[in-house]
Amino acid sequence: MNRKPTFSTLVVWFYATLNLLPMLWMFMSSLKTNAEIAKSPLGLPTTFDFSVFAEAWEMGGLGTYAINSAIVTFTATTITLTVSSMAGFALSKLNFRGRGVVMGIFTLGLLLPIQAYFIAQNELFELVYLKDTRWALIVPYTAMGIPLAVWLLKSYIDSLPKEIFESARVDGASDLAVYRLLMVPIIRPALVTVGIFSVLSSWNEFLLALLYVQDDALKTIPTGLLAFSSKYVTDYQMLFAALSMVTLPMIVLYVVFNRQIVTGLTQGSVKG
């Protein structure tokens, strides 16, 4: 094996650093006044005044957007994991009529992009008065996450020996009891992977959030930030502060949980 850093190692280090520059620039600019930004866009900040962050959070409404994102993401992910693990368990270990059909419609769901159904979904949500409520996002985020979650959890449960379940059955447990007492603790690692994918997709989703929620008090971070950027279109410092406040906590979380997040995102996207 190589013991010394090679030339290509240095190139990759340089490239990685180059990639971080836009984010560094963003953070730097959030500490500069608008006059400084306009005069020398690449200059270093001279003062460290963090009050603009508080202003963006309160007056700019970032706090509200963050809370909305948290509510929508948490609810959608919890429902997705619950119903998908139940269905994944039944599809993996129980023989019932209609199982093939259920598998078939979920497989179709793995292939359908959001563009295939959002137009009629919009009309449907209008019809049942879901639009401009938090459920307008929770329901589709859950529904879109289900096929993948079922598929990943089912393959995980497939790999577990069926003797575990049969012995519980001999002890007289019903299917629901087996699911609740035995299944949920065993599949925890898979739930974490699927959960990370679900959290990040809900947190970052834009198209449906843009179309279904116009009420500023209910907007999530992606659409909220867009509203923010048109409201403060000439206040560059505020814009950079808002961008920094959205990205920095995510970067910290990512550095701490980087292995789980990389696994969650790559497995979730590749889906076999």
């Binding site: 690449l42 129980l94 529904a143 971070i221 995102l265």
Partner: protein, 292 residues
């Protein structure tokens, strides 16, 4: 196993099926139905036969939006997938790679809208980092209104996409390289193969299946790409970055042409499904020559 009771199965399966059927399957069928209708969102939809489809194929903006999509896909195959493969090659065989591995993946997890707004600022003609950098190195003449110029807007967006996803494909390829049997690689090394030969002659051919999955992901991702386009240019200037998704959203939500928009949606879905099925076939016919 045989279920203990039918009711138990129903409780386990019904919630997932119901939510999914309500919010995805039903709207999917509904969109297909609407694509044969003339409807502005109010009143009763009229049956329009294939009119919407005929109109779509004669719509020059829609047809050219496929050209932009193809350009975007072709570019991202290079700046995302090929770049990711090269990065993974270096990262998997060298030491001191923790930093680039972690750093390059950061943009993948951030909201695309945030990235789009950030890069909109980077490309800003007045205070953007790009033009400031060009001035700093004495190339005033290269300064551009990057996103306002039809010649540079689409390449700029594709570049941002590469900035986001090169790290994603790097992670996928890196995981694939890590699964390769070590004995093959060690024996190639003993036979005197250097890292470069090892990469091109042994590692890359052995992960061909992963590469085809990555290409498919990049292509389907390109067909569905929306966020960057909407936020950075919204199809402009002069429709030079119009892709099918942005045009579809305009048709439905700006022009209230719901039937027409639905036909665009169906066309785009069919294109995506055909490519996915084609790739799966292609992969399975080549399966026998790839062994792990």
């Amino acid at each position: 196993m045989k279920p203990t009771s039918k009711f138990g199965v129903l409780i386990l399966v019904a919630p997932a099926v119901f939510i999914y059927a309500f919010a995805v399957l039903l709207p999917f069928v509904g969109t297909i139905a609407l694509s044969f209708a003339r409807w502005n969102g109010f009143g009763t939809p009229e049956f329009a036969g294939f009119d919407n489809y005929i109109r779509a194929f004669h719509d020059t903006v829609f047809v050219s939006s496929f050209g932009h999509m193809l350009f975007y896909i072709a570019t991202t195959l290079v700046v995302e997938v090929a770049m990711g493969l090269l990065l993974a090659g270096v990262i998997s065989s060298g030491r001191f790679m923790g930093y680039p591995r972690v750093a390059l993946f950061i943009p993948v997890m951030l909201p695309m809208v945030v990235i789009a707004v950030l890069w909109g600022a980077v490309f800003n003609p007045d205070f953007g980092a790009m033009n400031a950098f060009l001035s700093a190195i004495g190339r005033e003449d290269w300064r551009q209104v990057w996103l306002g110029n039809p010649a540079t807007a689409l390449p700029a967006i594709s570049l941002v996409s590469g900035w986001i996803f090169a790290g994603f494909y790097m992670a996928i390829f890196n995981a694939a390289f890590a699964r390769l049997p070590q004995d093959v690689i060690e024996s190639a090394r003993l036979d005197g193969a250097n890292e470069r030969t090892l990469f091109w002659r042994i590692k890359v051919p052995m992960i061909r299946q992963v590469s085809s999955v990555a290409m498919l992901l990049c292509i389907t991702g390109g067909i569905q790409g929306f966020d960057l386009f909407y936020v950075m240019t919204n199809g402009g200037p002069y429709n030079s970055t119009e892709v099918p998704t942005t045009y579809m959203v305009k048709a439905v939500f700006r022009d209230m042409e719901i039937g027409f928009g639905s036909s665009l949606s169906v066309i785009l879905t069919i294109v995506g499904l055909v490519i996915a099925i084609f790739f799966r076939k292609w992969r399975s016919t080549r399966q026998e020559d790839v062994e792990y």
